[in-house]
């Protein structure tokens, strides 16, 4: 089987949705339509492929897809060469999967009948579905907990890449926090995201071990002006004032690591990913009055307008008074978190999660919060410090924490994840 054929082509199911994706046909292997797209400004159809190469990694300002499978790994080898070899293999496989092809060069059903297939097969017939795979390196990859420098990387750890400080109310579970590496897989079809992670995990055996993973649905932020603002599990629009892909100046200021920043010799053009699993205490929230809910968030539940305003995108005016008191309560989430108060901005890219129920009949649900920033200290940490008095804290618990440095994008078809760090 020609490895350039997509999964759909393989089954002879080429329809209108993929015509552009396979513009170059069987012989070429160039994903014509996809390559021509600028991820920052164009909105590909939900089925299409997102370019795998570019100045920045895909999956950050790429218009947020609907589904997430996030996985954090511990590196189990002390051998740097083995780790590098795996990163190269991962890159190759990720490139294929992002284009809608099988994980391995042979494919799920075309191999030796006595060998395990080199692709697990559950994505056969599915389009690329906007799959992005974004890699990050955690602080413990550079220096182990006991101070070890097993990969000769300690000197290259950027100063901001440290575990997040403790915040009041944290209820972090170590088993679902931290990690040496992470992969953020996002797609518009959950099966495509799960397929990608599953195959990468399999190829990593002997080198990495899954530390924790999280599934997410229903993106809770829009990262492009072309996207409507979604609702989180509190029922409120979330991410109205998020940084958007179209705002290059803001992205350069708040999201991308710049030349001259600590670690920019390998991280320039990259970004720091902060992940927090935030359990929402759904039952108390659902029994709170509408007024209480709106005053907790600082927006109306319907339109998403700042309290005291009319429309979603009306400015957050923290000085506005209604009947002699602030329209937006000073303890509301929007009041405390908005950029004017936080004096910084982050690119949010979180997802809702429901991990069944908690054994007591309550929904184990919430927001898997993901944010990208140029420096965690002046990004998430600064925002979160301002949320100490947030009325929303009564309804949430942070149950995990992780931070990763995501290197810049891949420059061409031969580049590999981690080259700027290990190369």
């Amino acid at each position: 089987m020609n490895e350039h054929l997509s999964r759909r082509r393989l089954l002879g199911m080429v329809g209108a949705g993929t015509a552009g994706v396979l513009a170059a046909g069987a012989a070429g292997g160039v994903i014509g339509h996809a390559v021509a797209l600028d991820p920052a400004t164009s909105r590909p159809a939900a089925d299409d492929a997102v370019p795998f190469t570019g100045r920045h990694q895909a999956g950050i300002v790429t218009p947020a897809q609907d589904r997430l499978h996030f996985v954090a790994f511990d590196v189990t080898t002390d051998n740097r060469d083995e780790l590098v070899a795996m990163l190269k293999t991962w890159t190759e496989v990720a490139r294929r999967m992002a284009a809608g092809r099988d994980a391995g060069p042979i494919g799920a059903v075309d191999g030796n009948q006595y060998a395990p297939p080199d692709d697990t097969g559950e994505a056969i017939g599915l389009p690329p579905s906007g799959l992005t795979l974004t890699i990050g390196f955690g602080p413990s990859l550079f220096t182990t907990a006991d101070g070890g420098d097993r990969f000769r990387l300690a000197a290259r750890r950027p100063a901001p890449l440290v575990d997040l400080p403790a915040f009041p109310g944290d209820q972090l579970q170590p088993a679902r926090s931290g990690g040496d590496l992470c992969i953020q897989a996002c797609a518009n079809d959950p099966q495509v995201a799960v397929h990608a992670v599953r195959n990468l995990v399999r190829l990593g055996v002997g080198v990495v071990s899954v530390r924790w993973s999280q599934l997410g649905f229903g993106r809770t932020s829009s990262t492009s002006t072309g996207q409507a603002t979604p609702r989180n599990l509190f029922g409120f629009k979330d991410g109205t004032n998020n940084l958007k892909a179209e705002n290059d100046a803001a992205l350069d200021r708040f999201v991308w690591v710049a030349e001259g920043d600590s670690g920019s010799d390998w991280l320039a053009g990259g970004s720091y990913l902060v992940a927090r699993r935030i359990r929402m205490l759904v039952e108390p929230w659902d029994t709170a009055t509408l007024d209480e809910q709106q005053r907790t968030i600082g927006r109306t539940k319907g339109a998403g307008a700042p309290l005291g305003q009319h429309a979603e995108f009306d400015p957050v005016d923290v000085a506005k008074q209604v009947d002699g008191r602030p329209a937006i309560p000073p303890t509301s989430h929007v009041f405390l978190a908005n950029p004017a108060n936080a004096k910084t901005a982050i690119l949010r890219r979180g997802y809702s999660f429901v991990d069944g129920s908690d054994g007591l009949g309550r929904l184990d649900a919430g927001l898997f919060f993901i944010a990208y920033q140029r420096n965690p200290e002046t990004g998430f940490v600064q925002v979160q410090r301002n949320l100490r008095m947030d009325a929303m804290n009564e309804y949430i618990r942070h149950t995990s924490s992780a931070v990763f440095a995501c290197p810049p994008g891949l420059r061409d078809g031969h580049d590999w994840w981690g080259r700027t760090l290990f190369g």
Partner: protein, 379 residues
């Protein structure tokens, strides 16, 4: 674990007659195990005297006599301590015989008084070209080698089960608890073969709740529950008798089984799957928590199956062999961190991090071992 899950994987390859015909045909010439001589080995607590150490390439018949005071074992090791042949549990005063097919090369014979450590080693030099194995005969030999291994395990399995049953019937709870994992480790080493007898396996190794409607819960695990949960085996006599009768029968049948090379490859993986699905989870020994004995047995059995294929695999995919060796060693090292006395710690003493590390090593090893079948089939 009852046979339902495993047997199809083994039986499926029986249809591969065409693939293995050549291997079978050459078996009588090169792999049948016709001994050319009889080499006396005198094992004592301090020495391992092998009568002849310069040998011609071919099949050799060793007769090991234990003149020492401790139970001993005898091994023939190839390059990298590959086990070419082995016989365990030779009681003081007894003799055991063992066949070893030795192509030209350097080997070591080893006696292990007390059945521990690296043993007392003796170099063996094998010269000559007549027995150089062709590609197919190397595979044919694998089946015979594995059969010899199965036979070397069924004997102590039967002996230990007999002792276990006697202890249960005598009401010796402490003694039976010691013998239980010691008997089962032999079973676990050859589980794919033993499980291929679908009528007997559920009676011997079925877990509580796995029985057909109306079927009694019998076998090792029935007695395990009486020993560890009830602490009373006064009503276990009939179960003990039945267990021994079934074990005698399965041993007899297992001794006759010769696995084809692909079955060996699949069996090696099946044993690792047993670890991943039954031992890492603590399901197999849910009352005694002696899962790590079973883990060790499955691991050794898998390694042995791969060892029999090694002369062949080495020629066609030396890199895979190296990776498999490294991962077997890593898994064994991980397991050995949980040694306690003559055995292992019980499952309930393992913390989550230990289980995670054991699971990782098995997952990685299984990925490597899963590639063996295609090499065998593709020759």
């Amino acid at each position: 674990m009852p046979v339902r899950d495993r047997r199809p994987a083994l039986l499926a390859v029986l249809t591969l007659a065409a693939l293995t015909t050549a291997a079978c045909a050459s078996k009588d010439e090169n792999g049948g195990g016709k001994a050319t001589d009889l080499i006396a080995v005198k094992a004592t607590d301090e020495a391992c005297d092998v009568a002849t150490t310069d040998l011609k390439a071919g099949t050799h018949h060793f007769e090991v006599t234990n003149k020492g005071s401790k139970v001993t074992e005898f091994y023939v090791y190839g390059e990298g301590d590959t086990v070419i042949a082995e016989v365990e549990n030779i009681a003081p005063g007894l003799s055991r015989e063992i066949l070893a097919e030795l192509p030209a090369g350097d080997y070591e014979a080893a006696c292990k008084p007390g059945m521990a450590g690296d043993g007392i080693r003796q170099k063996l030099t094998v010269t000559g070209t007549s027995a150089a194995l062709s590609q197919d005969s190397a595979l044919a030999k694998a089946g015979a080698d594995y059969q010899a291994y199965v036979q070397s395990e069924t004997a102590p399995f039967l002996a230990q089960t007999t002792a276990f049953v006697a202890a249960v019937k005598a009401g010796d709870i402490a003694g039976a608890k010691v013998l239980y994992p010691a008997a089962r480790i032999h079973w676990e080493r050859i589980e794919p073969v033993a499980e291929s007898f679908g009528d007997l396996d559920p009676l011997i190794d079925g877990r509580e709740g796995d029985q057909e409607p109306g079927q009694d819960f019998t076998g090792f695990h029935r007695i395990e529950k009486a020993l560890w949960v009830a602490g009373d085996v006064s009503d276990m006599g009939p179960y003990a008798d039945q267990l021994l009768a079934n074990v005698q029968q399965i041993v007899q049948r297992a001794n006759e089984v010769t696995l084809e090379p692909l079955q060996l490859a699949n069996g090696a993986k099946a044993l690792l799957d047993e670890i991943a699905t039954g031992k890492i989870t603590g399901e197999e020994e849910r009352y005694s928590h002696t899962d790590l004995w079973d883990f060790a047995g499955n691991l050794e059995g898998s390694r042995k199956a791969i060892d029999t294929l090694r002369p062949f695999l080495g020629k066609f995919d030396a890199k895979l062999v190296a990776e498999i060796d490294q991962r077997f060693a890593a898994t064994q090292a991980e397991l050995d961190t949980h040694r306690s006395g003559d055995g292992w710690v019980t499952y309930d003493q393992l913390d989550q991090a230990s289980l995670h590390a054991l699971s990782d090593s098995i997952t990685a090893l299984t990925e490597s071992v899963s590639k063996v079948a295609a090499v065998v089939a593709g020759r």
